[in-house]
């Protein structure tokens, strides 16, 4: 973890409603792993008060990328940053996806969850590690990759304007059907509804699955206890009494094993 002054190298529209920012950050690049995030100080004045968490979307040498959607004040301000702007960034934070055994990784990303999934895809590709990538969006305009199942890239859209019409679960089923019985593992990130669907699909098919969650964050480094994530507990930790306990998205996650997550809320 380090605080780095990062120069914005570029900041452009990547697809409909999506921006991509490239920043110079040698320290963050050297340490960052897929699933980890950075925490960005948007403005040196008091507003917005808190940093904004963003996943690392790719790393090339000493340059890292963010892929983000404009939601509110913080991301709107970030979208106006010009090349040369210096940003105060804390990272890399959290734990990424951890290596699996010899199962084929199926990477599933939706919404802004495509950002960390993109980094995982990049790292596995560079390592020559076989994997499949499934990305979901509402329409083709929101995608920035081409649908190319033979190259391991499956896109899905709600409106059918690109790739497979349907959700990432339909894309996941298609990708699984292309495997000849090879054992698979699912590594995913996306909005709450998608995470719930991935959790129930993988649990009912007994597929190991690791999901990255998003939670409101006050600090990103474990000092506010604000980013609690509800988890199932095992008997040895049952002192909480209610059959659940909270872990911290920023320290214990954001990647959790799907089986331990209680995903109740939208």
């Amino acid at each position: 973890m380090l605080l780095e002054e990062c120069e914005v190298l570029s900041n452009k529209t990547l697809a409909s409603g999506l921006y991509e920012m490239k920043l110079e950050g040698p320290g963050i690049c050297a340490q960052g792993r897929p699933g980890q995030f950075v925490n960005i100080l948007v403005n040196p004045s008091d507003t917005p008060l808190l940093r904004r968490p963003m996943s690392i979307a790719h790393v090339n040498g000493t340059t890292f990328g963010l892929i983000y959607k404009v939601f509110g004040q913080g991301t709107r301000e970030m979208s106006s940053w010009q090349p040369g702007h210096m940003a105060d960034i804390l990272g890399p934070l959290g734990n990424g996806w951890w290596p699996t055994d010899d199962r084929l990784p199926l990477l599933v990303g939706g919404g802004v969850g495509i950002a960390p999934i993109n980094f995982l895809h990049q790292r596995l590709s560079q390592a020559g590690a076989p994997h499949q990538l499934i990305m979901g969006a509402r329409s083709g305009a929101e995608h920035f990759l081409e649908h190319d199942p033979s190259a391991g890239i499956t896109l899905t859209t709600d409106d059918g304007s690109a790739g497979i019409a349907g959700t990432v679960i339909d894309g996941l089923k298609a990708a699984i059907s292309r495997q000849d019985n090879q054992a698979v593992t699912v590594l995913g990130c996306g909005p709450p509804g998608m995470l719930r669907a991935l959790q129930s699909f993988t649990m009912s098919h007994e597929i190991p699955c690791q999901l990255a969650v998003e939670e409101m964050m006050g600090c990103g480094v474990g000092i506010c206890m604000g980013c609690s994530v509800e988890c199932r507990i095992d008997a040895s930790l049952a002192q909480a009494g209610e059959g659940r306990r909270y872990r911290l998205a920023c320290l214990d996650g954001p990647v959790f094993s799907a089986g331990e997550l209680v995903l109740a809320r939208d």
């Binding site: 507003t47 008060l49 000092i223 206890m225 604000g226 609690s228 306990r245 909270y246």
Partner: protein, 304 residues
């Protein structure tokens, strides 16, 4: 160089008046990569209870104009794990460490202190978080009643020879009266303020932004409230007052000193930058020189 040391009584001297506040610096070691803790005047831990506590369900926090709301629910690992896993690190720091103590009965507060005392590790003392619901009093906070505050303080005074600081809530009718009760109970200092009761919701759905609905506001939004409370407390007691609430800069620190604070704590600002406390401590001599103040003593309580 200006002398920044602060004497707080009971033989305790801080190297500078800037501490970090309870619940805003974790258990202590989380951000050790980012700063040298020995440059801080002091550090107050997350509030520790006797048993581990789960805390409240998410969402626990929400940003508001110039502030944030929280309802963490005293989530903490419990004093046993704390003494085993965190206290050795804290005791090794070259800064004044205060363990923040939470409880739902007088006995629980006392047991937490006794457990820390048994560990025989060196810390400066304790900050008593009296904004905890009292189970025997229908969940009413200790800190809203002068009688309960005095009884609790004298019970804890008997449990330790170390520094005892009582942290006051602003959500009371007369904070000066509560401060005096802590003083009568034997507190070495009072600190103020804890968070201000607040609430935020989604206008379209009516859903609370923080799960508990009622929660605590902190950050620059509460600074004027905090200054007024620290001012009142300073007038009411003769023991040292440690001020906090919305401090973001060296100017804010000096504001608190001028309303009577002996030292200050930085809370929410740590989330923006965990180094802010030591940065402010470094800037303090320059700022004092700029306003032509020879030292902290000369400006303390000078608000008029």
């Amino acid at each position: 160089m200006t002398d920044l040391t602060v004497t707080l009584g009971r033989g305790l001297t801080l190297k500078n008046p800037v501490m970090v506040a309870s619940g805003t610096f974790g258990y202590g070691d989380e951000v050790a990569d980012l700063l040298d803790y020995s440059e801080l005047g002091g550090l107050v831990t997350k509030s520790i209870s006797l048993e581990p506590r789960d805390g409240h369900p998410p969402p626990r926090i929400c940003e508001t104009p110039a502030g944030m709301l929280n309802a963490i629910g005293w989530a903490n690992m419990g004093v046993e794990a704390f003494c085993r896993d965190n206290l050795p690190f804290l005791a090794g720091l070259r800064t004044a460490v205060f363990v923040s103590v939470a409880g739902s009965s007088q006995a629980e507060y006392a047991h937490v202190i006794e457990a820390v005392e048994r560990s025989a590790l060196e810390i400066a003392g304790y900050e008593i978080n009296i904004s905890c619901p009292h189970v025997d009093k229908g969940g009413l906070e200790f800190g809203v009643s002068p009688e309960e505050t005095e009884k609790l303080t004298s019970r804890l005074r008997a449990a330790t020879e170390r520094y005892l600081m009582v942290k006051l809530s602003p959500n009371v009718t007369d904070i000066g009266e509560i401060a005096q009760a802590a003083e009568r109970g034997g507190a070495d200092a009072v600190s103020a303020i804890n968070t201000v009761i607040g609430m935020e919701l989604d206008p379209a759905t009516g859903i609370f932004k923080v799960q508990t609905g009622l929660c605590g506001l902190s950050g620059p939004a509460i600074r004027p409230i905090a200054l007024a409370n620290v001012y009142k407390v300073s007038q009411a007691v003769s023991i040292p007052v440690v001020g906090m609430g919305g401090i973001m800069s060296v100017e804010d620190v000096v504001r608190f000193i001028r309303v009577g604070a002996q030292a200050v704590q930085i809370g929410t600002a740590n989330y923006r930058d965990p180094r802010i406390g030591l940065q402010i401590a470094r800037e303090l001599p320059g700022y004092l020189a700029k306003i032509e103040a020879p030292g902290l003593e000369e400006i303390r309580g000078s608000a008029h």
